[in-house]
């Protein structure tokens, strides 16, 4: 029994944190918005990507982390990747790291025909392609126009569809760095990656596993976003003076931040445990993912609320950075199932009703 990151995992995580601090500063996130005014400044015209951060992650091996070694990757697992996705969240990086490096790689590795895997996995590992994931129902994908391919579900089938095979209907979201689009496409033999083998009761099979991994990715990014928002609030509260003292010396501010951080502190272990379960194919994995997503979605909403309140009016402006992370948190809290959706999955597992 050992519930902690390994030394290597910690070192990798620290390196990614430092890399993203350099390559994905708030102004980089701002530049990923199409409308400069809405983002609070910057050049405008972004497409939901921060390419220097993306390239740097590719060079560092993050994108190929879970690609098997014989396809040019590092042969890592969800457990290795999830701590890095937390860093993606902390930096507010909007790029499709979770879908490309996590969800798609796992689907290719675990479910695709060898030829298909051999075509795509090295390209992912080489940082050559960015791939999104969308599910029947919502059918939406972020940063859609910038992607090379889409992993899409159709009933219990998974399809991998190239950019030319989809039509995109752009959607306006609260987070202008999302660049969400509804994806329209037609399933065919040519696009079929895997399918017809979902075990709905147990939650395994290509589509189920893909959904779980996507939900866990969102959960991890939410953990990082929560940390970022709380760090900003703590820093601001230590600096901002009112009534002759820093506002962080008021108990009302202290206790709001203590409570918000408490929720994040206790949600994060659920995220890490789910990563371990998914990596091992543990039968509890679907319930573990749902516990994580439910808890961190609520914790992130709470962190956003507390951080905004502590900041007061300045947090309410787009020129200040907080909104970049807060709006992402709002978006991801409802992405791939909101807290109520995931609690319902846990309920079925725990109560049998």
């Amino acid at each position: 029994m050992r519930f902690a990151l390994t030394d290597e995992q910690q070192e990798f995580r620290d390196a990614v944190r430092s890399l993203l601090a350099d390559t994905c500063a708030p102004d980089d996130v701002r530049a990923a918005w199409a409308d400069a005014t809405l983002a609070g400044g910057g050049p405008g015209g972004g497409d939901g990507r921060v390419r220097r951060a993306w390239s740097a992650l590719g060079e560092m091996g993050v994108l190929g982390l879970c690609v098997p070694e014989d396809h040019g990757g590092l042969g890592g697992t969800d457990e290795d990747l999830v701590p890095l996705l937390i860093e993606v969240g902390r930096a507010g990086l909007p790029d499709p790291v979770s879908s490309t490096a996590g969800v798609v790689v796992a689907a290719l590795r675990d479910h695709a025909a060898p030829g298909v895997a051999a075509t795509w996995l090295p390209r992912v590992a080489g940082g050559e392609v960015a791939i999104g994931v969308g599910f029947e129902g919502a059918g939406t994908v972020p940063a859609a126009a910038s992607l090379d391919a889409f992993l899409l579900s159709d009933r219990d089938e998974l399809h991998l569809v190239e950019r030319t095979g989809v039509e995109l209907e752009p959607l306006e979201t609260v987070d202008g760095a999302r660049h969400l689009a509804r994806v329209r496409w037609t399933p065919s033999e040519a696009t079929l990656l895997a399918g017809g083998t979902d075990d709905l009761r147990e939650g395994f099979g290509p589509v189920n596993e893909t959904f779980d991994r996507a939900a866990l990715g969102a959960a991890a990014v939410l953990a990082g976003l929560s940390r970022r928002m709380l760090d900003m609030a703590v820093q601001y509260a230590g600096e901002r003076q009112q009534f002759g003292v820093p506002i962080g010396s008021f108990q009302a501010i202290k206790h709001q931040l203590a409570d918000a951080s408490l929720a994040v502190e206790f949600a994060e272990p659920l995220v890490l445990r789910a990563a371990n379960s998914l990596a091992l194919g543990d039968p509890g994995a679907p319930a573990h993912v749902s516990m994580a997503k439910a808890a961190i979605s609520d914790a992130a909403d709470g962190a956003a609320r507390a951080s905004l309140q502590v900041h007061g009016a300045i947090g309410y402006t787009v020129e200040y950075d907080l909104h970049l992370y807060m709006k992402r948190a709002w978006a991801l809290a409802v992405r791939h199932g909101d807290a109520a959706f995931h609690r319902k999955r846990v309920r079925t597992a725990v109560l049998g009703v």
Binding site: A252, V334, A340
Partner: protein
């Protein structure tokens, strides 16, 4: 206890509803917090004024119709029920005006109030400064006496001025006694934003609209009041010199209390929430959990409406709510957030899309912050209503 409206009140409601339904702009106006939207709103404000609905509870001489506070409540209910536009004149009408009624000279009342109700003078607040937000008594903007020129010279910076980029007048506190500290030595000034020395810079609110402004004042001259319109157009002082804090507290009390946040506003939101829930229900998407959350929010909106009825009864019978207006502010601000949160829960995955509920949510989140943060309001409730020790 009598919870029925009189025949006259029902007639007033019918008249208001009929006029509003016939005149409210369709489709809805764009946000009033952009330059284009603000202009469209001004047309609406003037239409409202010309028909006598801009300030129903004011005297007719100032553009009102001498309506009772009860009729005002009714008008507000109808206004929000029909989905009429946000009032871009509200900071003047609901915040400054009550203080002018209380502290203004007859000449000031005669000058400022009709121009305000007619949306000729458009007022924004100049409360906050970069280092004076919740701590209003920390204002540093200065008013320096210039006896030779016969007036005051204002300098400093105001911020978080809602719609400051689109208004032409500002009201706020300035430190007129340089030796003074905290609440003392402040004067309440009214300042034209086209005066020499004023610079206004708009900036983006959470929803991206340019709803905020910074206002820089660099030796702005306000002449002494000689009772003439020409002078009053160039600004003036409300109340006495060095006694601005009391005037400001009267304004703040209006902001916290019911005048800015009539129950009709939240009841209308609660109705829209119920409509959304019914729609989700007919799509087979309304879980029992969400239905319960909607009901809880609905009950809270009802509670707020009833609480304000009790407030208005008190006011009508000459009892002042005093510090209890902090209860109102806490409740309506949390209620507004809750109504929108529940709506977003109903929207599920679509809750990240831009739409009325996401925009409304972002606006609602400002409620616990402005008009004195809710932390300040809880202090007031604890100390001044419950009687807990200050120190």
């Amino acid at each position: 206890m009598d919870l029925n409206w009189s025949g006259a009140e029902e007639a007033f409601r019918d008249e208001a509803r009929t006029w509003l339904e016939a005149n409210v702009p369709r489709p809805s106006l764009p946000s009033g917090d952009t330059a284009a939207g603000f202009a469209a709103h001004l047309d609406w404000e003037r239409t409202l004024h010309d028909a006598g609905w801009a300030v129903v509870s004011w005297p007719r001489a100032y553009g009102g119709r001498d309506a009772s506070l009860w009729e005002w409540l009714i008008f507000e209910e109808e206004y929000y029920r029909v989905g009429a536009p946000q009032r871009v004149t509200q900071n003047g009408i609901f915040l400054l005006a009550p203080s002018i009624f209380e502290f203004g000279s007859p000449a000031q009342q005669d000058h400022y109030l009709p121009r305000m109700s007619a949306a000729v003078d458009l007022w924004c607040q100049g409360w906050s400064e970069p280092n004076a937000g919740s701590d209003l008594a920390a204002v540093r903007s200065r008013a320096t006496r210039d006896d030779d020129a016969g007036g005051w010279v204002l300098s400093g910076q105001k911020t978080w001025t809602t719609r400051g980029a689109f208004c032409n007048y500002l009201f706020g506190l300035f430190r007129s006694d340089p030796e003074s500290e905290r609440h003392r030595g402040l004067t309440y000034f009214m300042v034209p934003l086209d005066a020499d020395g004023v610079t206004v810079r708009g900036f983006g609110r959470l929803d991206g609209d340019e709803g905020f402004a910074e206002v820089f004042l660099d030796d702005v001259f306000i002449p002494d009041d000689d009772g003439t319109p020409a002078t009053m157009e160039r600004g003036g002082i409300l109340g006495e010199v060095d006694r601005g804090w009391g005037v400001a507290m009267s304004t703040a009390s209006s902001e916290r209390g019911l005048t800015l946040r009539s129950p009709g506003r939240f009841q209308a939101t609660a109705s829209r929430l119920v409509d959304l829930a019914r729609q989700r229900s007919s799509d087979g998407q309304l879980t029992e959990l969400l239905a319960d959350r909607v009901t809880e929010a609905w009950i809270a909106a009802e509670a707020y409406a009833l609480y304000t009825l009790s407030d208005v009864t008190d006011i009508a019978e000459g009892r002042s709510p005093g510090a209890r207006s902090s209860y109102n502010k806490l409740f309506w601000s949390e209620l507004d957030v809750r109504l929108h949160e529940v709506a977003l829960e109903l929207l599920g995955p679509d809750a990240e899309l831009v739409g009325p509920w996401t925009t409304g949510y972002q606006f609602a989140l400002s409620g616990p912050i402005y008009a004195g943060t809710n932390e300040i309001q809880r202090n007031i409730v604890a100390e001044r209503v419950l009687g807990l020790p200050r120190k």
